[in-house]
């Protein structure tokens, strides 16, 4: 098959299809105090939540756009053309057969019901602003594990939500955390009781279908003492010529000795702005792991953070970013070592191709009273051609001398000798490139559930088609 033929056959982006927009509630485009009030009213929220939303809205209004990162792209967002709330199904179902046909069809194409049966402990499927499907395995429920969409979480466990909401990421953290807090809808709410180990991953899948949609999910995960959970999220959207906005906030709380692993394979279509705030607090001897893959979107700005608050807490961040034509992945991580004997391990890998741009932006700080900490940072960038760009902005603020810090960074190009070697083994130049790229991301891929790893490798192989001019 010719290169162009192969490209036509697979499509530029295999999740770019869309379904008819059958909204049951759709707010007018644009944001106002009234829109914020209406969202809260529609959801019958307690007054305290309405109040937080309004405070956040006013903060958002007064907060200037960040003056760092890709200002040109950021300033290109037309906030007035965004739909801030769209309800596509009246209820969150726990049986796929009850989900409206067109929406069920979408998730079938994305393989979610199949994955659920095979290897997941629970699933939330969000379509536009709200979850349309939700279920959790009975055995997990019997152990007291709560896994709900965030709206249901607020309705059913208002006291837990009130206690933790906005405590890890205050609405005033940044302009987009303020926006999310004002208009949030959907997302996941998870509570794992003391000592409960949730072995099978639970998954949330976020799908934007409508044009000019704004999706603002809000996730709160609390792992009580000695418990553990493995949460996986995926996301896709149709390819439109107009742009959509995805701005989520994720808050994680790992109590003493608990472990939270949060894995993301972000594969938005390249018309989506992905501006997300993710942060976790790790208490004594707790572990928080961000396994963060950014493949899609037009602009991603995302720096999953861990606050190492208790002695002996550990943070692990393994991230990959892939930037193709017209894309900018501005990603990285922030780690705050507030307590002694805390450790962090960061591995960030990026690939830039066809003029794509990848930036690693990282901050590690170690507080004066945090003694005997260990920090290990490795950043590797791989450039596939001369037109692409990679930047690294690492910041280390280490306030005491007992800390052991290592930092390595490398920028490399795929060598002609590597390609030649693989081609002499019968692989076309494109296949050889895909092999090198998959190998480069392998330290990330091997951390994913196998099904995701296979999918990611396939995705990257498709990206390499037609890559060689």
């Amino acid at each position: 098959m010719s290169k162009q033929g192969a490209r036509d056959a697979v499509g530029e982006y295999q999740y770019g299809f869309h379904d008819p927009e059958n909204a049951s509630v759709r707010f007018d485009k644009g944001l106002s105090e009234q829109v914020v009030r209406d969202i809260s009213k529609l959801k019958n929220e307690p007054q305290w939540m309405t109040d937080i939303r309004l405070k956040a809205y006013h903060h958002y209004e007064g907060r200037p756009m960040p003056d760092w990162g890709n200002s040109e792209m950021l300033n290109g967002i037309n906030f007035d053309s965004v739909t801030y709330f769209l309800r596509s199904s009246e209820r969150t179902e726990n049986n796929w057969d009850d989900v409206p046909d067109d929406i069920k069809h979408t998730f079938d194409r994305l393989g979610i019901p199949e994955a659920e049966q095979k290897w997941l402990g629970g699933v939330t499927a969000q379509y536009e602003s709200e979850a349309v499907y939700h279920s959790i395995r009975e055995d997990l429920e019997a152990q007291g594990v709560i896994f709900l969409d965030m709206d249901s979480g607020l309705r059913e466990y208002p006291e837990i939500v009130k206690k933790y909401f906005c405590t890890v990421v205050p609405y005033s953290d940044n302009k987009f955390s303020a926006l999310n807090t004002a208009v949030w809808s959907g997302g996941s709410f998870i509570y794992v009781p003391k000592g409960v180990q949730v072995e099978m991953p639970v998954q949330a899948y976020f799908r934007i279908n409508a044009k000019n949609m704004g999706q603002f999910e809000r996730t709160l995960i609390i792992a009580d003492e000695g418990s553990s959970i493995n949460y996986v999220e995926g996301c896709t959207a149709p390819t439109y010529s107009t742009e959509s906005l995805h701005s989520a906030v994720v808050e994680l709380i790992a109590m003493k000795g608990a472990k939270i692993r949060y894995s993301t394979v972000q594969n938005w279509s390249t018309n989506v702005y992905n501006l997300v705030t993710k942060r976790g607090v790790a208490n004594e001897n707790a572990t928080i792991e961000w396994i963060d893959g950014n493949i899609g979107s037009k602009l991603t700005m995302k720096y999953p953070a861990v606050i190492l608050k208790g002695e002996g807490a550990h943070a692990e961040v393994i991230s990959v970013a892939y930037s193709g034509e017209g894309q900018h992945q501005d990603a990285g991580t922030k780690i705050h070592h507030l307590a002694s004997k805390t450790t962090s391990n960061i591995l960030a890998k990026s690939i830039s191709k066809n003029g794509g741009r990848s930036s690693y932006r990282g901050l590690v700080n170690v507080a004066p009273k945090a003694k005997n900490c260990k920090v290990n940072v490795v950043c590797d960038a791989l450039m596939l051609d001369e037109d692409s760009r990679s930047d690294t902005y690492p910041t280390m603020e280490v306030a005491n001398a007992t800390c052991n810090v290592t930092h390595e960074a490398s920028v490399s190009k795929v060598s002609g000798e590597q390609l030649f070697y693989l081609m002499t083994r019968g692989h076309s130049e494109e296949e050889a490139m895909a092999m090198i790229v998959n190998g480069f991301f392998e330290p990330f891929t091997r951390e994913l559930p196998m099904e995701y790893a296979v999918e990611l490798n396939r995705l990257l192989e498709l990206e390499m088609e037609g890559a060689i001019g």
Binding site: M423, T424, R425, G426, H427
Partner: protein, 246 residues
């Protein structure tokens, strides 16, 4: 009638505008083992690279036919699919790609429709590992990443056994090997040589103690200056190359 595998006539090759091969002719028939000997810089490795189609090597004149097909028309991976194989002097590391996966994918790519099933492949792989005295712990490692010189060469020969080439080109496969490794590598070559043509590039005679070439060619300054039978290697071992220079 034996089939002509490779036919090179009056080949001239330049790298960055500098002529390296200056009028080389050679014919290899199926089942023949040819050795090319010569000092460093004689153009031996250039010949290996140009046969496989490395983009940095420019053919300025002359022709190469493989199985009657003009090689210039074929891309690198197409040559491989038609049964050409190069064992590299300096094999490349491919971090993140496991040896086992790499071998399976390469066998599929090259043997195509005739590729073994998953089970057959495992059997073949185990047999080849045993022949070369390679442990299974080799398989999950990343291709050539952190490999010793000997391990790299063993992996090259392992690939050769599994890919079953019709024409195997071995570029300094003997360099940096201890005696045991040299013997296993030679056994691999002998195995292949039962059916395939072999072109062994070396500047020592020691590999030739273990494999029996039909012809030995001496290459000096981009040309074959003398062709003889196996005993020519011994003469070179004794007298060096100086006596052959014009």
């Amino acid at each position: 009638m034996p089939e002509t595998l490779l036919l090179i006539s009056d080949l001239h090759v330049s790298v960055d505008g500098t002529p390296i091969i200056k009028g080389l002719s050679l014919e290899i028939m199926a089942g023949e083992v040819h050795a090319i000997m010569g000092r460093n810089g004689a153009g031996k490795s250039t010949l290996a690279y140009v046969l496989m189609g490395h983009p940095a090597y420019e053919i300025t004149s002359g022709e190469i036919y493989y199985l009657g097909i003009p090689l210039a028309e074929l891309e690198v991976h197409q040559r491989a699919k038609l049964g050409m194989f190069l064992s590299f002097q300096y094999p490349q590391a491919i971090p993140g790609v496991q040896v086992g996966t790499f071998l399976r994918k390469s066998v599929q790519a090259i043997r195509g429709e005739n590729a073994p099933s998953a089970r057959e492949f495992r059997v073949e792989l185990n047999e080849s590992l045993k022949k070369l005295g390679v442990e299974k712990s080799f398989l999950p490692r990343y291709v050539n990443d952190g490999f010793s010189g000997g391990e790299k060469k063993r992996l090259e020969i392992l690939q050769m056994l599994l890919l079953k080439p019709q024409l195997a080109i071995l570029d300094e496969t003997d360099s940096g090997l201890d005696v045991d490794a040299l013997r296993t590598v030679a056994e691999g070559i002998n195995e292949i040589a039962k059916t395939a043509g072999c072109l062994i590039i070396t500047h020592y005679q020691r590999l030739l103690n273990h494999v029996n070439p039909d012809y030995i060619h001496i290459m000096i300054d981009g040309k074959i200056v003398k062709t003889g039978e196996a005993d020519l290697a011994l003469v070179i071992e004794e007298k060096g190359y100086d006596w052959l220079e014009v």
